[in-house]
Amino acid sequence: MKLPIYLDNNATTPMDPRVLEAMLPYFNEKFGNAASRNHPFGWVAEEGVDYAREQVAKLIGASEKEIIFTSGATESDNLAIKGVFEMYKEKGNHIITTVTEHKAVLDACKHVEKLGGKVTYLPVKEDGILDLEVLEKAMTNDTILVSVMYGNNEIGVIQPIKEISAIAHKYGALFMTDAVQAVGKIPVDVNKDGIDLLALSAHKIYGPKGVGALYVRRKGPRVKVTAQMDGGGHERGMRSGTLNVPGIVGLGKACELCGQEMESEAKRLSAMRDRLQTALTVLEESYVNGNVEHRLPHVANISFKYVEGEGLMMAMKDLAVSSGSACTSASLEPSYVLKSLGLSDDLAHSSIRFGLGRFTTDEEVDYAIEVTKKSVTHLRELSPLWEMFKEGIDLNSIEWAEH
């Protein structure tokens, strides 16, 4: 077993060697510009892109004509939200999203507000799931888009996408989903799920960084987005810029592999994740964040009360995980996702996200369990809050000097 162990697969994933192998020829021998229509170099590159387009489309049940390649999910989210707003603003100016979305969606929505749009940021329930009644109440005749993520990046909670899209459509709005964490991990089908726009990324599914895609529905209804970048009119005029051929080929291969291995892989990962979670919640005062039933197979977000997340990560130095603690960012604010579940700040500060992946082994999970337990126990010995808790002092009764 090699240390450190990578358990941060929601942040990014290592590239699968089979993906790398598929990409390599497109860096040198097949280097052509996919837009060069008049010579074999261009044709070969275009063939690679076309094949990748089919691979991506197949994974999400789409047609290859509905795939727009981008630089990643942040761009896809921006293109979808700003592009829909610009394209449909005559129809209405209202967009609905949730507070637990990725920053790429939230900030694109804020941009829309600056352009005169109205955005409703819906709260979620304590388990992280959107209340359908709350959504329905927020719908108006002016609502042109509902954007709700498929699976959450911090807690892994899966939203009831089918039901949400049905509500959006009932009111004549389009439905968009940031499916970065879900695609390739669980079955996603744009038709069964009623998705009109979908953002995905290669590097979360064992592909390369810097490439992603936006699915844009072509039939029932035909959806259009206004391009956010001006240029040569690539990608059906929706996204200009010379195609990143090696990256796109890698994304295609990554999608193909996920399609083939997803089912068995999801079983393997959820079994490992559950084992990790069961072993760690044996520790006193540890809590799993978010719904545990409707959850991606590879994520567990656990708060270890009375221990601060960054301090804990430092103790688990051979484990690469992530924390909702403020100390991991410069902002001093703990995770907005965890806070939106109604978690108190101290629990948000105490959270660790374990993200398993394709290359995670049982041996690594065993090691992670051991190290985490040892570290939590060690840091609690150092924690004045733990001592007070053990003495039966109610921490809420103390007047803390907030700084």
Partner: protein, 137 residues
């Protein structure tokens, strides 16, 4: 962000972790920070009849830099008179531990904890608390 060797050393081998009898009039206790903010420090000093700190203990809920700052503070406190202890400045801690700007608040908290512990001791022994001339927050 990488931690300095000194932070790692104090974090890995924290000095003077523990609890002194807070009811003793020879012990001063400072509890600063807040759980909501992600760091709480408790620093305690044992003071002899000559106003010299003979022992210091801490417990900290917080990041590695917060733990290292409090560990370092207890090391510095031992053997100092309480007057000298009062002079410990957060920037001395920043320098010693090579804390990056985002972690300066950890050193501020340690300085606050020292002053709070000394003042607790002073009040217990019938002396007026010393107002800190520095305003950090």
């Amino acid at each position: 962000m990488a931690y300095s060797d000194k932070v790692i050393d104090h974090y890995t081998n924290p000095r003077n972790v523990g609890t002194l009898d807070k009811s003793s009039h020879k012990v001063g206790t400072g509890l600063v920070g807040a759980p909501e903010c992600g760091d709480v420090m408790r620093l305690q000093i044992q003071v002899d009849d000559n106003n010299v700190i003979t022992d210091a203990k801490f417990k900290t809920f917080g990041c590695g830099s917060a733990i290292a700052s409090s560990s370092l503070a207890t090391e510095w406190l031992k053997g100092k008179s309480i007057d000298d202890a009062m002079k410990i400045d957060n920037m001395d801690i920043v320098e010693e531990l090579a804390l990056p700007p985002v972690k300066i608040h950890c050193s501020v908290l340690a300085e606050d904890a020292i002053k709070a512990a000394i003042n607790d001791f002073r009040v217990k022994n019938g002396l007026a608390p010393i107002e800190s001339e520095k305003v950090h927050h």
